[in-house]
């Protein structure tokens, strides 16, 4: 129904657009194009929502865009400095030009005169992005929160809905919402505070779990699903927030204790690892390999904190996991050595095809969100080759990434625009493992990112929508008693 209404609106907009005078007597622009978001020269999936943008050049009266493909052209003119594509026309154009380069020419009218900027290219790939993206929207408020929502956005349109809202949950803090197998039918998030628990969604059935046993000093924090959906691997962390003195560096968070544990969701059992239980080593950010036979995680020797925080360097390690016997292996491999490579590794994520392992590298520590130097890197698990992903990274924090189900896209949170508010970016990974220039999650109103005072946090991609909403989570959180684990 809503799609039909959108289509009708599209037609209306096209008619209105057609009524707006097309550019005539166009001169070459003498100024540099200032476009937000920066969509110049990007590779985009065939199923992405329109890349609406605004021109920041001064005194723009109208904007006109020609998108020229092999077979046809999309030419639209808009009043003001904001440019939006009609959804239906955009969808058709992308489908008709899949696996092609299209040439985009932006023109602006100033003082009744049209000017044309140098054209740029969009490559439209048939490798689709997973249709749904979830993220936490939160004020970038250092240690505390007030309003938190977990939202789900359809990346093919601009449809967004709230799937958990702390307004309905007695203002409890909600941690990251993660998927298993990029599926909306397998996901979880932690609800903190009294009466909270880990909300596990499996095929629409919601369970509330208490992922801590009497032997465990701390509860589950960062985690990832096993491909079977039966297990989840988690770190248990005692987290300390501190403030930097230099403005712009803001917050540093470190662990004073951390370990790894596997949760068996079928038998309500926590399986602790003897090899990762060393008190002299911090372990965090565990994730399963694509085949579920390995657990990758970050590990660092204990140092005196916070004074020696800059000496705290996490390496990337792995340990085997046997699904049948639900047991950890007893040998730890170092996949990326912090000492030899320089820096500290965080948030490893394996691509679903098993070829790559991507992770964040910062100068030190375990909290890359406010580290301006935080960049994503990727290891080819077959060759061991390290790719520093220079096309993807920026001079600000680039972190908290995830893979699409076809292993062709990386979604990640970046503070590259203003250093404070995170936004979701997508970068294409081609068949050769090369990453392409990323583009930001398109918004219906391209000015939204300017006006929004919330940060996009922990983006996760899924092929299907989750079968719950904020009201059902409110109900379940009140009804359910946390299932205990032993």
């Amino acid at each position: 129904m809503s799609y039909k209404i959108l289509a009708l609106l599209d037609i209306l907009l096209l008619v209105l657009g057609a009524c707006t005078a097309a550019p005539t007597h166009v001169l070459p622009a003498t100024e540099v194009i200032s476009i937000y978001p920066d969509y110049i020269g990007v590779t985009i999936p065939q199923n992405i929502a329109p890349l609406n943008f605004l021109l920041r050049n001064e005194q723009v009266e109208m904007v006109s865009v020609d998108v020229v493909g092999v077979n046809d052209t999309m030419q639209i003119t808009r009043k003001g400095n904001k440019f939006t594509f009609p959804l239906l026309a955009w969808k058709n154009f992308l489908i008709n030009h899949t696996n092609e380069d299209v040439r985009v020419t932006v023109m602006m009218r100033k003082a009744m005169q049209w000017y044309k900027f140098d054209p740029f290219i969009w490559h439209i790939t048939s490798d689709s992005l997973d249709s749904y993206l979830s993220y936490r929207l939160i004020e970038p408020g250092y240690e505390v929160w007030n309003e938190i929502q977990i939202r789900e956005r359809c990346v093919e349109t601009f449809k967004e809905r709230v799937i958990a809202d702390n307004n309905l949950l007695e203002n409890k803090c909600m941690n990251c919402h993660i998927y298993g197998n990029n599926s909306g039918n397998l996901s979880l998030f932690h609800l903190r505070g009294e009466g909270g628990g880990t909300m596990l969604n499996k095929d629409g059935k919601i369970r509330k779990l208490h992922l801590q046993t009497s032997e465990m000093r701390l509860g589950a924090v960062y985690g990832s699903f096993h491909p079977s959906g039966r297990y989840g691997v988690f770190s248990t962390n005692f987290i300390i927030p501190t403030l930097h003195t230099i403005g712009g560096k803001r917050l540093e968070v470190y662990d004073t204790e951390s370990d790894l544990v596997v949760a068996d969701f079928n038998n309500n059992r926590m399986i602790q690892s003897p090899v990762s239980a060393s008190p002299n080593v911090f372990e965090t950010f565990p994730t399963f390999s694509a085949d579920g036979k390995w657990i990758y995680y970050c590990a660092a020797p204990v140092v005196n904190l916070p004074d020696s925080i800059k000496k705290m360097h996490y390496s990337l390690c792995r340990v085997s996991f046997d699904e049948t016997s639900a047991s950890w292996g007893n040998k730890i491999d170092t996949v990326w050595n912090a000492k030899t490579n320089g820096g500290s590794a965080c948030h490893p994520k394996a691509s679903p095809d098993g070829l790559f392992l991507s992770f964040t590298v910062t100068d030190y520590g375990t909290f890359p969100i406010w580290h301006q130097e935080a960049d994503l890197q990727m290891i080819n698990l077959q060759t061991g080759e390290l790719n520093k992903l220079e096309e993807l990274n920026s001079k600000r924090s680039d972190t908290y990434h995830c893979w699409s189900s076809n292993s062709r896209w990386i979604a990640f949170a970046s503070k590259r625009i203003d250093g404070q508010y995170g936004r979701v970016y997508f970068s294409y990974v081609d068949a050769q493992g090369r990453v392409h220039k990323p583009f930001v999650l398109p918004q219906k109103n391209p000015e939204n990112d300017d006006l929004n005072l919330k940060s996009y946090n922990i983006p996760e991609l899924a092929t299907t929508s989750v079968p719950f909403d904020a009201i059902s989570i409110e109900k379940k959180s009140q009804e359910l008693v946390s299932e205990q684990f032993k």
Binding site: E139, V144, L243, D450, L451
Partner: protein, 525 residues
Amino acid sequence: MNRKNFFFSIFIIIGGIVLFFFFYYLLPYHFFHKEQVHLFLFNVDFLTQYLCTPAFLSSLLGDWLTQYYYLVGGAPAILALLLVVLGVVCYMLLLPYFKGGTSWCAMLIVLWEAGRQCALTYPLSATLSLIGGGLTVLLLKKIIEKSLVVGKMLAFLFIPLSYWFFGYGMWITLLFFILLCSKWMKIGMLIITFAILSITRSITNFTWNQTCSYPSNIVYFLPNFQREELLKVDIEYSRGRIDKLQSILRDAQIDHFIKAYYANLIDARQGKLPNRFLMRFKYGTNALFMPVHSKSDYLTIFAANEVWFALGDMTISEHASILGMIFSPRNKGTRAIKRLAEISLINEDNEGALKYLRILDKTMWHSDWAKARLPYKQTAEVKNWLVKKREYIHKEDTLRMSRDISRSLKGLLDSNSTNKIALDYLLCYHLLRKDIRSFACDLERYRQTRSLPNVYAEALLIYYTGLGVSSKQILDSGIPLSTVEEFNNYTKIYEQYGGQKKYLQAQYGDTYWLYFHFAQVKDEL
């Protein structure tokens, strides 16, 4: 106009004037503050977002009008007018039911609503919602007078429209319709109401309470004149009217830690902190650094940023500004956004500043302020101000807990030893906590001049006496001979009367010695 209407009109006009002067003279800062924690943007997409919420019309109008609270007399004029309109609407609604005491009933409703407007969290849109709900009933009654059938049919349409336009004002509409309708229509209306509320809840993620009362958020409130005094101090400081603030604080009793905090801040800016901070010792270190934690209210949290901003610690200032903003009634506000823009500019983070300046550029009153600060287009005055502010910020990076005040201040002094405000705050902080050792160490490390303010000399003398330092060394350290003699005399009286305060109070009431011996160190809030 008949005699009755004439007197009624006079009554209304007088009521409006009384309301105007009440708000104008007794609560002006309350409404200035409301503007500071409010954000209304002239942007099509921002405005169209109102359409997606209940009470869109009253919220839109209310938020638009709240901007005018920025002007002197703006809020009193708007509120007096709206409350008079509310009174007239209530009078017209109640007239058929309370013929004898309708005016009194209407007046009581106006007083109740005027009281609620004295709450910081209560929005203007809630008053507009009541007016809107009442006007909807009056409109429908007119229609029913002409055609009962059409009127009753429209009643079903007016319930959802009333909720969409006026939120909880719908309850007025519903109540009057129920009084007018038959049993089955009443049941139908209640079903429609429940359906509307359920749908709204699923769209907005409001709790049931919020869904039923939006945009109102309180039942009743009484004017808080003590808070008005605090807001006066806070707002005058934020507007940079230091002379006015000084005269306010000079005349007023320092009866709250927020007043003491601003009094200390002004004294520090004028280099007078060491001479005066002991006058406000009863508030402990909260009068120097306001607490930022889960039990603090947003007023305190936001005001806490001011001292750090003055000292040069941009991280804690930003931390307090953001927290103050996100815990304020609407989670945003022009004052906080301005401060965040300033902090980004001082940190030479132009992209960060642009985020906030672009927002302010779309406001009615703060657009010019934002334009004057746009990177690469700053006025000379702004550029000079930035250069000065940058001289005092941290140059070296270290980590500290947000309450590790001493470490933060030492970092500022290590970055710029001429940061006199930071030095005074550090030393006075130690003295308030009776941490004489830290005081002496930091004084030794950071002092720039040989001469010492009295209170520092007195405290240093306590330290040296404890160490058994020679008289020569004491005098060499900059402690005046007169202070040493006074201290000897103080000690003599102290010992003579067995350490009884009353014998020392008259002569040594303003010395650090008396504070050190007798004051109870107050725990931080």
